[in-house]
Symmetry: C2
Subunit: 340 residues, 2 copies
DNA sequence: AGGATTGATGTAAAGGTTTACATTCGGAGT
DNA sequence: ACTCCGAATGTAAACCTTTACATCAATCCT
């Protein structure tokens, strides 16, 4: 049991007095090898401490048993729970998960493209709305891939995520039910498809209630705390204010709440606020944030399950799996001021 | 430029009308190949879109150009910034970084051990205070490794992190300077070495000021928000209260602040609170949290630099690199109540 | 009893690289 | 003119697996 060099299949074969082919078979197709031989091999493996060299295995097989999860920002509060769902499902299939962090840097994306090209990963989960490989994206040979959390723009990659429009609809319906008539939408985005869908849900809700759709109440934003803050400042520079802020995500909502509190307003006394995602922080705000919960681990689980379907060459019936979002009522929503 | 199969070195060789050895040399030791040959090869590479198969390369070389970063919880707010430091430095050396997420599950740790054993990573960064390989930890053949953020218990692994004792000392000194005499320490831990050092800094500070060290003011905790909350509840059940809460980390401090606010107390009017780490959330609390800043990207950078020293067989002079922490004064600390 | 079938095992190739060693060739030194 | 040297390139082995094919012995069928 020398520690200097890992035991190879040959060491095991020698010790068990069989050929390397038999060892390999004993591991992968045990029913094809005689019971006593199998036993000898098992013992030899235990003694040598052999573990198969995944590198050689993958080289031979032309595919590995790792799945690459590519994320632009692993600090995203949504990421870790989705990842857990991904990992658990991958594990159930005997696969491992590795995380690639791109920081939105195409150079970095390219490194992972290389990683994929040399078969170091059998498949890919994309945590980003855009293929992160810069201009090489067009010509890239990609392994089976599934987008998650954010629909992927380029290249018909199937997607698993929450039903953004339905979730947004739940938020807007709540605000309308509370009596709000002027409701701002904070965080409009042209580039993020998921956020666009949330805005569509907002508009649908207004239309369904026959409320005016005031473009002056729609503020752009990139989903950061800072963008939420900024939107509030800009709205206050205008003459007409909303009574409620429906935010494209929780981060934005946090920014909005901070800005409102900083100006001395009370929530939900003066203004109501809703978020989207239900990040852990939503519980720790003051007041706690009413928001839409993403079924994060479920998303991860289903995305990985879909990826394995793709790996087995099954063309998936649907290209998009949308999971139902839940409304989480906390303390940031109340009746509008005049209506008290 | 068929997309079906990645180009191999042989494709390049054929196109450039040289042998595969020459291609390999043109890539790795260009000075050993004639200028015109080099040109032909470069062009052939461009035409075929060849990228070297890292799998085969690593198999041959017995080492890869990937570094594995093992973390029990990638949701830790400290993680992402340290990771950025790690990644940038790795990149400067031509290495890539992969993240392994163990969820504190030894089974999962074992998967990464396999990964390491088959040379899929040249080195390892540990984001955890303990080797995550369960009982196999003892016999594990490990590649060069460096601990980060939390000193590693088992097996003399070098460590790069903040100077916990010095940081804690800055916090306690601030509280004492403000006039506090009864200062609780929230989050005592026997198992987490870094946290133990923070407590040591707390004790040193008290001693230096010739203040009584009341064991009743030291509360255990595991560094979670919940543990901070709990500690406050327990302290309130006793008769004597502190005027300030020095918390082992920001998460704990957040829990403490939530519990105090829930009971209707004002911070820092009724009680002062300090944290440790300076996580992003510290800015968004109400009041904003006075804390000790970890130089996170610097830690990552230095840890990776140290790892590369190890990879080059240089025995590192020191086994522990401690970086200086900074006190970040915000609004959660004031004079004690009686002293107003 | 003889041929066919089955089950267990072994042999060897293949996967894409790197590199020690061998080969070739031109030119310098005598 | 011959030897020797160095530069440039080629040949082939090695890294560790998996697996198609070959081999062999034992069992079955008629």
């Amino acid at each position: 049991m020398s520690k200097s060099t890992p035991a190879t299949i040959e060491d095991v074969a020698r010790l068990a007095e069989v050929s390397i082919a038999t060892v390999s078979r004993a591991i992968h197709t045990p029913e094809k090898v005689a019971k006593e031989t199998r036993l000898k091999v098992t013992q030899a493996i235990a003694i040598t401490g052999y573990t198969t060299n995944a590198m050689a295995r993958s080289l031979r097989l032309g595919r590995s048993n790792m799945i690459l999860v590519v994320a632009p920002d692993i600090g995203d509060p949504n990421f870790s729970n989705i990842l857990i769902g991904l990992e658990n499902e991958a594990r159930a299939h005997g696969y491992g998960v590795l995380i690639g962090h791109t920081q939105n840097d195409p150079q970095r994306g390219l490194e992972y493209l290389k990683f994929l090209n040399s078969n170091q990963a059998a498949g890919m989960i994309l945590f980003t709305g855009i293929l992160p490989f810069g201009h090489q994206t067009m010509t890239a040979r990609l392994p089976p891939s599934v987008g998650v959390f954010e629909p992927v723009y380029n290249g018909g990659i199937p997607y698993v995520g929450v039903d953004d429009a339905a979730g947004a609809r739940k938020a807007i319906d709540l605000l309308i039910a509370e009596g709000h008539r002027r409701i701002a939408f904070i965080g409009e985005s042209r580039t993020r498809l998921g956020h666009a869908r949330r805005k569509a849900g907002y508009e649908d809700g207004l239309r369904a209630a026959r409320l005016e759709l005031d473009p002056g109440l729609i503020m752009p934003g990139d989903g950061t705390i800072e963008s939420g803050r900024l939107a509030v400042e800009q709205l206050f520079m205008r003459d007409t204010l909303p009574s409620a802020f429906m935010c494209v995500n929780d981060q934005t909502a946090i920014g909005v709440m901070l800005a409102l509190t900083a100006r001395g307003y009370s929530i939900p006394g003066d203004f109501s606020v809703t978020g989207f995602d239900d990040v852990p922080q939503a519980t720790f705000m003051n007041p706690t944030l009413t928001t839409i919960r993403q079924p994060r681990t479920a998303i991860g689980k289903q995305a990985m399950a879909l990826l394995f379907k793709l790996l087995q060459d099954e063309k998936p019936e649907e290209t998009e799996i949308l999971l139902a979002p839940d409304l989480v009522v906390r303390n940031s929503v109340g009746a509008p001021k005049g209506r008290r």
